[in-house]
Symmetry: C2
Subunit: 298 residues, 2 copies
């Protein structure tokens, strides 16, 4: 397949190289020329070299936000009106379900298939072609992009015909994953006030009813004082913001998610926004005069 | 060993029969004579039949609250002052760490060893001798009760000499387990507002970063509309209350736990207190006009 890759940055670069490894031709476009140049170093091509977009079989969009996606689809880049009918547009950005439905509708008006296909996984998984993709869209869109999806993902959750279902499931998983960070750090710092060392916490809790995927994944970083941002604090105000905006639009009260968001905002306010998200532990530690492993703060 | 079992009710009965199966002699006492009679039907004896408490090697207390424990130890029952020195008192009740330390201190003044040994697991695990015990206390107390602990538990977490550490670890695990119920129900009902069926949620989320032990354990009950109270809603205001009281005493802010507690209180206020704790989902459903599987409510 000939695939246009919009936004071959951190995640998109690994996805594009996974496609190339599987024999696809990838044409990159980015507001940052360095991203395209890097892709060309890995046997990709610049989209600008292509005489006309209609040669593409699919367009994959991995930009940072719905607003950037809108620019690509219908704004500055105007990609959708330049595509041939039956090209599939794959939106991998975290957006509100309603926005995904809106893009699908506007694509359909031009005879273009749409996959609402947000991704899960870090950049290392993207480079390995081992992401999870939560996808929904017309069966034709799945059929015509199957080889590309399989090149990028270990697991493709197929969530039906409704554009919006992929983004909705992503929102639900984000809600849980983000929220679980907050009780994790609240519980182990509370434990410290009661004389439980973090190392003891980590020996016991993963074997008990209080464990979560996020706890087992993130807590070791705190033990090792490694706040390298595999996933940064500031991602959560953005992503939980998308979740809570969708909830508000649906008149859905989400008090626990709202409480968790406050902790990420506090961490961001402490200028920890670019640290690993587990750094929200520092909010709890500072509020209770505790010293975390390897930190100077009390 | 000759073991006095105070409170052979729901959990205590299974623990006592596990001890009997392992060859221990168990002497039961309870404010409810029926509990003692049931134990006698399983080869236990009434503590009242024993001429003097000093014949006991250990006393196990599995009553409902710290206040009931206080009655057993130092109040109405006055057990501690009637025990021989070197008998071990095992407190299996969920209490504040500070209370466990207070009991230990008063026992020590009488030469009596103390194990702060709260338990985890439901009554079926108690009957199988497969509980988890989070225990702390003097090494002598562990040594002298080893065969009894092993008869009752699959896993004994040994948390050091400090009475209070067992209760602290239990509080930490309770905090996480209780809190995780709240985002679980918040996330799947939010998903329903976005078009994600509960069955789809359950196919996807346990394989994703948003999963937790509680989610995988409790969510099937909601799918099956089975609110039989293996662990009831009303347990959480009590247990999270113990956690938040200890936190307040330590001037520890626990905003996410506090938010989760409100949801259990709302469920209790909806007269769901005696249902399975997953029934807190009905709070979210009612607040957003959703219908859960198998329920009539909208």
């Amino acid at each position: 397949m000939k695939i246009g890759a919009f936004g071959p940055g951190c995640m998109g670069f690994g996805m594009a190289t996974s496609l190339i490894r599987s024999g696809h031709e990838v044409y990159g476009a980015d507001i940052n020329p360095a991203s395209v140049a890097r892709l060309c170093g890995e046997s990709g091509s610049p989209l600008a070299a292509m005489s006309a977009l209609p040669e593409l079989d699919a367009v994959m969009v991995v930009v940072l936000s719905g607003a950037q996606g809108e620019d690509v689809f219908f704004g500055e880049w105007g990609v959708v009106e330049r595509l041939a009918a039956e090209v599939v547009v794959i939106l991998c950005v975290t957006v509100a379900p309603a926005y995904a439905r809106s893009v699908a509708k506007r694509c359909a008006a031009r005879g273009i298939d749409f996959l609402d296909a947000p991704i899960f996984g870090r950049s290392v998984k993207a480079a390995q072609g081992k992401l999870s993709i939560m996808a929904s869209g017309h069966p034709n869109a799945f059929r015509n992009t199957r080889s590309a999806l399989d090149a990028m993902a270990e697991t493709v959750f197929e969530l039906g015909d409704d554009a919006g279902a992929g983004s909705a499931m992503k929102a639900v998983n984000l809600m849980l994953a983000g929220v679980h960070i907050a009780p994790m750090v609240e519980a182990f710092t509370f434990g410290m006030t009661q004389g439980i060392a973090l190392e003891t916490f980590m020996k016991v809790i993963p074997r008990c009813a209080g464990t979560s995927w996020m706890l087992e994944n993130r807590e070791p970083h705190i033990v090792e004082c490694d706040y390298t941002p595999r996933s940064a604090v500031d991602i959560w105000p953005k992503d939980l913001g998308i979740v809570l905006d969708a909830a508000r639009t649906s008149k859905f009260a989400a008090p626990v998610t709202a409480a968790a968001l406050q902790q990420f905002l506090a961490a961001s306010g402490m200028e920890l926004g670019r640290e690993e998200d587990a750094a929200v532990a520092k909010v709890c530690a500072r509020n209770s005069g505790l010293k975390l492993p390897g930190t100077d703060e009390t």
